[in-house]
């Protein structure tokens, strides 16, 4: 039997405990996804404090309330603070005295959006940004109304001032705020051209594959090295050893991911077969990275911990847990070219159908680099093990 066949046989034995771990991880991931999706459908409650009886404000709030993503609730400051602390509202907007009249005079008194000090979730960030964009839209429409009033004055049409400016105000505010898709406009752009759900779908695949790989540590960590030494003495080079073992490791991880996608495609009633096939280079890069890390470990406990921490750190900085745009620019750029970051990026591009030459080349380059590093480490270790 060839070494590759034996490695595959060994990997297939390893797949039994891996499948058990998979089921546990799958349950946890499903729960997270379910929670995420149900939260996505949640109506965001936002409080408004201040003079909400003003005609323009009232119109604006009425129209904003028509948006399915928001529920706008006029509140007193005390109520708003209490509801914010209890988590019943995402935040509240405090409209200052003379907010509308100042805008009519060409002055811009900003309203304040108050949220918890540290945003606890992605929704908070999105809500905050949405409110901020609403503020900008409102301000722009008020400026336009003010410009119209000035035009009427300058052209001796003062008699029509009241009637026309009111009409303009209604038209501007209505035209801008009646957008049903205001929330979606802000969520598109988490990364590439995928939706939030697609983004997290790919991230779950990446994290899942990494966790699976990390769970294989009892099979992957070599506490003793008699076999690589004997193989080398019998003419099976470190390159061939690494390629056989890496391929077996990749096969078992990919088979499980493929099966998972197969099941998910039934649940979601979506065809993921082609996507699963396209994921081969993505999963291969992840397994090549983990294989390389395993090559540096020879103690089970420390090796397993190292693998888990390394995998989760790579996943975190690559934006698998939080969208990478929330990170500093330098970290974002760095993560984008690292193996997990580039695998995640290609995974998203493949889903949106826009995988570019750069993404594919970068990933292939990583496959080669990581495999080469594994071979070098194996060579060094065989000599060390041999003595």
């Amino acid at each position: 039997m060839s070494y590759l066949k034996l490695c595959l046989k060994r990997a297939s034995k390893a797949s039994v405990p891996l499948i058990v771990i998979t089921l546990i991880l799958l349950s946890a991931a499903s729960l997270l996804l379910f929670t995420y999706l149900s939260r996505d459908k949640e109506v965001k409650r936002i409080g408004v404090v201040g003079n909400t009886e003003d005609t323009y404000i009232d119109i604006a709030l009425t129209l904003l309330s028509e948006n399915e993503s928001f529920e706008i609730t006029p509140l007193s400051r005390d109520e708003a603070e209490s509801l914010l602390k209890s988590g019943d509202i995402q935040g509240y907007a405090e409209i200052p005295e003379g907010f509308v009249s100042s805008a009519m005079k060409g002055k811009n008194i900003p309203f304040t959006y108050i949220a918890l000090k540290k945003p606890s979730s992605l929704y908070h960030v999105i809500t905050k940004e949405t409110v901020s964009s609403v503020a900008v839209l409102l301000n722009e429409s008020q400026n336009a109304v003010y410009g119209m009033r000035q035009y009427l004055k300058d052209n001796a049409m003062k008699s029509q001032l009241g009637e026309k400016s009111e009409e303009m105000s209604f038209k501007y505010v209505s035209a801008i705020l009646q957008r049903k898709n205001l929330f979606d406009v802000k969520t598109v752009g988490i990364a590439d051209s995928v939706s939030t759900v697609e983004y997290y779908f790919v991230s779950i695949i990446i994290v899942f594959a990494l966790l699976l790989g990390a769970s294989a540590s009892p099979f992957m960590i070599k506490s003793h090295a008699g076999l690589p030494v004997l193989l080398k003495s019998r003419g099976i080079s470190p390159l061939k050893q690494v390629l056989c073992e890496l391929f077996a490791f990749f096969s078992v991880i990919y088979a499980i991911v493929f099966s998972l996608l197969f099941v998910v495609s039934f649940v979601l009633d979506a065809s993921l077969f082609i996507y699963a096939l396209k994921l081969i280079p993505v999963i291969f890069t992840l397994t090549a990275l983990q294989f390389m890390i395993y090559e540096t470990s020879d103690a089970l406990v420390s090796g397993t911990l190292f693998q888990f921490f390394a995998s989760l750190t790579f996943a975190f900085i690559s934006g698998c847990f939080y969208p990478s745009f929330l990170f500093p620019r330098l970290l974002r750029d760095m993560a984008g070219v690292l193996p997990v970051g580039s695998a995640f990026s290609l995974g998203r591009s493949l889903l949106s159908g826009g995988a570019g030459f750069y993404d594919v080349t970068l990933l292939l380059l990583w496959c080669v680099i990581l495999t080469a590093l594994s071979v070098i480490i194996r060579k060094i270790r065989i000599v060390r093990w041999g003595i």
Binding site: M1, S2, Y3, L6, K9, R10, K13, A14, F219, H224, A225, G226, L227, V229, L230, L231, K232, S233, R234, G235, I382, V383, W385, G386, I387
Partner: protein, 221 residues
Amino acid sequence: MKTEIINVTKSYGKKRVLTGVNITAESGSCVGIIGKNGSGKSTLFSVLSGIARKEEGDFLYGGESLFSSKKKRRELLGFVPQTPPLMEELSAKDNLSLWYTKDALELSLDEGVLRMLGVGDFLKTEVRKMSGGMKKRLSICCAVAHDPRLLILDEPSASLDIEGKEKIAEYLTLFKEKGGTVLLATHDSLEFEICDKTYLLKDGKAEEFSYDRSSFKEMFR
């Protein structure tokens, strides 16, 4: 056929581990090599088996350099590393299938090394469920699958029970009788009994000496 290790040297960085090792062995003989931990026994075996590169020197079998011909070395030399070269999750049979063809495996189970070392008794047992002695016997079977003429063993009896040691000693005696040459790193008195010649590896050099129990203890002081 004469086996000759001629002036073999090896360094790791600035540390000179082997400074010119010379050993000779006739066919049908066993050469024991002893030395303190870190004296260079495993390094010497790594160089001879092609795992580490030599710096200088030569390794001849019947006048032919095994350092120059990798193919010849693989054909003639069997190496049993100190740690078992086995896949723990697989059975003895699976592990052997890497080195033996199906026919060769059956033949060896009938009348070869597998029978002699009693591997047939635990052929279907997973390696992780085996004792140290079973693993060592299986390791030897893996290393000699290609029927080598020269066998290098790095402490084969380490942490084995008496029965295991006796089986291995029996096999090595038979290997010698069939004209094979054995190079053995050992600290075990039972293995010394089968050695025809013994060398002490000290300060990177090998010195021949006559083995007896009292001088053996004295050497490690």
